[in-house]
């Protein structure tokens, strides 16, 4: 199975991603082996508010990357319904023109309740595509709302997409996505108000805090998927950013950040799962908090204690 993944076999890659999603104990060794073989791809996060044109951009980016002879994997994430647990994963619909090319692998994922714009297994899916030899892996996040910016600690290069006329500039400030961008894209640049949006973003870049202590000048790239404009520039900017990370050594810090987030997130997930499985104990503690015998914090500490013992 691992051999087939490393050899780029489509079914094997797809099954391995499903195993990452299912997170069964018997698949742990296989996924650990995948992880050991990953670490070569340039991982790029695409984020932005819903309707900013992320999927369409991911599609045309895929085509442009292929022109340079490189292969590309795309992990596209959509939200699960909080009511049924099901999801409609519609990003593939907008990624036209990539079918029939073995150098492109598109996988849709549902968040299944995970916050932050990613699915729990998103980065394991990235590992699988990375280990399978895809040169670039694009993660297309759920349209971010406020405070949902996990992508910043999931990708080497973060591309924030804004569309003109959505009032994205203000949304972006609120969501904190303005600062996280390594590259800003103004999509739908064939529209008349696109230049104003680009100017707004450029204006705001000079103000707030930035994570770029290392002289990376965040470019603002206007693109039009419709007219096929700016896509080449965007790929050039992504390549330049990757080179910048290597040249300055900043890539190591990014890698540490990504691993750090993954360890913490996984720990959270293990604990949450354990608590859900021990509902009786939780119920007893809730009763005691309800009776105001103990405060919520003490109940939480007791839960953690019993977790450590188990």
């Amino acid at each position: 199975m691992i051999k087939d993944v490393l050899a780029g076999d489509v079914r094997a890659i797809a099954k391995m991603i499903s195993r990452a999603e299912a997170a069964k104990p018997e698949d742990r060794d296989a996924l650990a082996e995948v992880f050991r073989h990953a670490g070569k791809a340039h991982v790029i996060g695409l984020t932005g508010v819903p309707g900013s044109g992320k999927s369409t951009l991911a599609g045309v980016l895929g085509l442009e990357i292929r022109k340079s002879g490189r292969t590309v994997g795309i992990v596209a994430i959509d939200p699960s319904s909080p009511f049924s647990g099901g999801a409609i994963l519609g990003d593939r619909l907008r990624m036209t023109g990539l079918a029939g090319d073995d150098g492109v692998f598109i996988r849709s994922m549902a968040t299944r309740g995970a916050m932050g714009g990613l699915a729990r297994a998103s980065l394991e899916a990235v590992d699988v595509l990375d280990a399978a030899g895809f040169d670039i892996v694009l993660i297309e996040t759920v349209g971010v709302g406020q405070d949902e910016v996990d992508i910043v600690q999931a990708a080497h290069t973060v591309v924030v997409v804004s569309a003109p006329g959505l009032g994205d500039e203000i949304q972006a400030i609120k969501a904190g996505v303005l600062e996280i961008a390594d590259i800003h894209v103004v999509s739908k640049s064939d529209r008349a108000d696109a230049a104003a949006t680009a100017a707004d973003i450029r204006g705001m870049l000079g103000l707030g805090p930035t994570r770029h202590e290392d002289d990376w000048q965040v470019p603002v790239v206007p693109t039009s998927a419709e007219a096929g404009e700016g896509i080449e520039d965007l790929v050039a900017a992504m390549d330049a950013h990757r080179k910048h990370l290597s040249d300055t050594g900043a890539i190591e810090q990014r890698r540490r950040d990504i691993i750090g987030m993954r360890v913490l997130k996984t720990a959270e997930e293990i604990i949450r799962k354990d608590f859900k499985d021990n509902r009786e104990q939780l119920a007893v503690l809730i009763d005691r908090v309800m009776a105001r015998e103990i405060p919520p914090r003490e109940a939480a500490e007791r839960l953690l204690e019993s977790f450590k013992k188990s």
Binding site: S81, A87, R92, L93, G100, I106
Partner: protein, 115 residues
């Protein structure tokens, strides 16, 4: 050892696509929403150019069931044409005159079957 079987329950995955030129995709969209409300992950692929594109999408997405909506002039047996390339994945055909309920039932039943 910790017990953590069933960390994530397995969700049925369905790929919903159209082939030929079905009259609008309203039905497919309603089918997609109905399936989602039943807890299914629906990969909505839209109009596909060829059977081979459907095979590729089904493989990449590792779905359990592929539902193919055909236009009225299409007498193709999709399942026969591509089923062989998709071992373990059920291919069902959604005829143009099917109601949403019928389409959902066909997909659900295909998903419930073991090989």
């Amino acid at each position: 050892m910790r017990q953590d079987e069933g960390l994530t329950r397995s969700v049925t995955r369905v790929l919903l696509v159209q082939l030929g030129n079905p009259v609008g995709d309203e039905i497919a969209q309603v089918v997609a929403r109905s399936l989602r409300d039943l807890g299914v992950d629906v990969v909505y692929g839209g109009l596909q150019d060829s059977l081979q594109d459907i095979v590729q999408a089904a493989m990449q997405e590792d779905v359990d069931v592929v539902g193919v909506q055909l236009d009225s002039g299409n007498a193709l047996d999709v399942s026969e044409k591509i089923g062989g390339q998709l071992s373990g994945i059920k291919v069902v055909q959604l005829a143009p005159n099917m109601t949403v309920e019928e389409a959902v039932t066909v997909i659900k039943e295909a998903g419930a079957q073991d090989d």
